[in-house]
Assembly symmetry: C2
Homo-oligomer: 248 residues x 2
């Protein structure tokens, strides 16, 4: 995909009286934009996810409805290597190496994390930037733009290098390459970072190091007891207030 | 002071149309109770502070007003060794040892932390328990009882051993003896813990260890960039919502 690839809205429907859903493509990348009915143009929150847009749809729509109630448009795109998109070279092998390390009770080697995460970040970040280009050209959407959740390394690099991102809600729930900790120093926008304290697939210390590394003058880490999918409802509400403060 | 010492209200005044202030003594310990006008009996939040009730009053009253707006009575007592109370044996010397260690850029030795903090905790906790006894006997106050801020080691022990405490808002801003980390395992009530990420007078790693040690099934750590007194307004609001969820 070329970053300058244009965005084409392919279908639109009313989800209910409060919410409109617009399916789009950006080259061969499928995406969805949701806009609150009767409030346009709306500031935009990009919704991250772990990949697999169709499977994630039910969980995304809850976040979409909350954001729409606060006056925000939301959008997401399929991740490289997920859904119907072609696999990323080397990532399957890295995932196998990751499983072997975890199965053997070993610390996951840095090079495995790099081979697993960096191809995803390298490919996804320009796609998200092209998505911002395309969405801000639509009459329903305006800046400022926030990012919320998803693969944290994508969020960090996007926040570090994309000047249209005004606030970043990060979810520390995936392995982080060392180079992303360096890139985190260039993040200057307000950050609200969620960490599940007992997330088996996450390195807690790296998450704390990442929070420490972020260059933002305003940053909050909220850690809650529980595993990856156990984020309590009040944490979602606190994150929503973070976006309302900085994008509203 | 004997824990069974009775509580005597010595003066009462209306702060404004919303708030009543009751000065009391518990033996020779001075204290203040604030109750929201027209809403009695109210659940109680005990307000911790670093000692020096008169000097702390302006900062306390802000927390008092916020809690009263949410329907809570609040109360506090002077700490042992602060205000007009006699010094605690050995604590002055421990404070000198602490300053020397910090001045020399050394890690503060465990025994200095013990000598600084444990006499305070040993004396204060029964006083806070007697305060709960006395306040719950007043017609303006009822349970459940929460604790909010102050010397975190006092809060941890009080939450661990006092069954009338139903929720604990802890502020990680002071040195924590190792034994308090053990006591933290006996805390089972919901905890909302605030940590200032760059608090020079606090050991960040011990704060994270303390959060990890807490036995509560529901616990949240919120860390914000900044020093000891730089808690952002939104963090206060999040703490208020924590108490509203668990005591309201």
């Amino acid at each position: 995909m070329h970053p300058r690839q244009s965005l084409n809205v392919t279908a639109a429907r009313q989800v209910d009286g409060e919410l409109l859903e617009h399916r789009f493509t950006l080259g061969d990348v499928p995406g969805i934009l949701w806009t609150p009915a009767g409030e346009t143009p709306s500031p935009l929150i990009l919704l991250g996810h772990p990949g697999g847009l169709d499977a994630m749809y039910p969980r995304l729509i809850g976040r979409v409805r909350g954001a729409a109630a606060d006056g925000f448009a939301t959008a997401t795109i399929e991740l490289p290597g997920s859904g119907n998109r072609p696999p990323l070279p080397g990532v399957d092998q890295a995932r196998g190496d990751l499983r072997r390390a975890i199965g053997a009770g070993e610390r996951v080697p840095d090079d495995v994390v790099d081979r697993l995460v960096l191809p995803l970040v390298d490919t996804a970040v320009p796609e998200w930037q092209a998505t911002i280009d395309g969405l801000l050209a639509l009459p329903q959407v305006r800046g400022p733009v926030g990012i919320s959740g998803g693969v944290i390394s994508i969020g960090v690099r996007l926040a570090a290098l994309e000047p249209r991102i005004a606030a970043a809600g990060l979810f520390a729930g995936s392995y982080v390459p060392r180079t992303i900790l360096e890139e985190a120093r260039h993040v200057t926008v307000p950050v609200h970072m969620l960490l599940q304290w007992d997330d088996a697939g996450n390195d807690r210390q790296v998450a704390l190091d990442l929070f420490d590394a972020l260059g933002s003058k305003e940053k909050t880490l909220q850690a809650n007891l529980g595993g990856h999918t156990g984020v309590p409802a009040h944490a979602g509400e606190d994150a929503a207030r973070f976006f309302a403060r900085h994008l509203g």
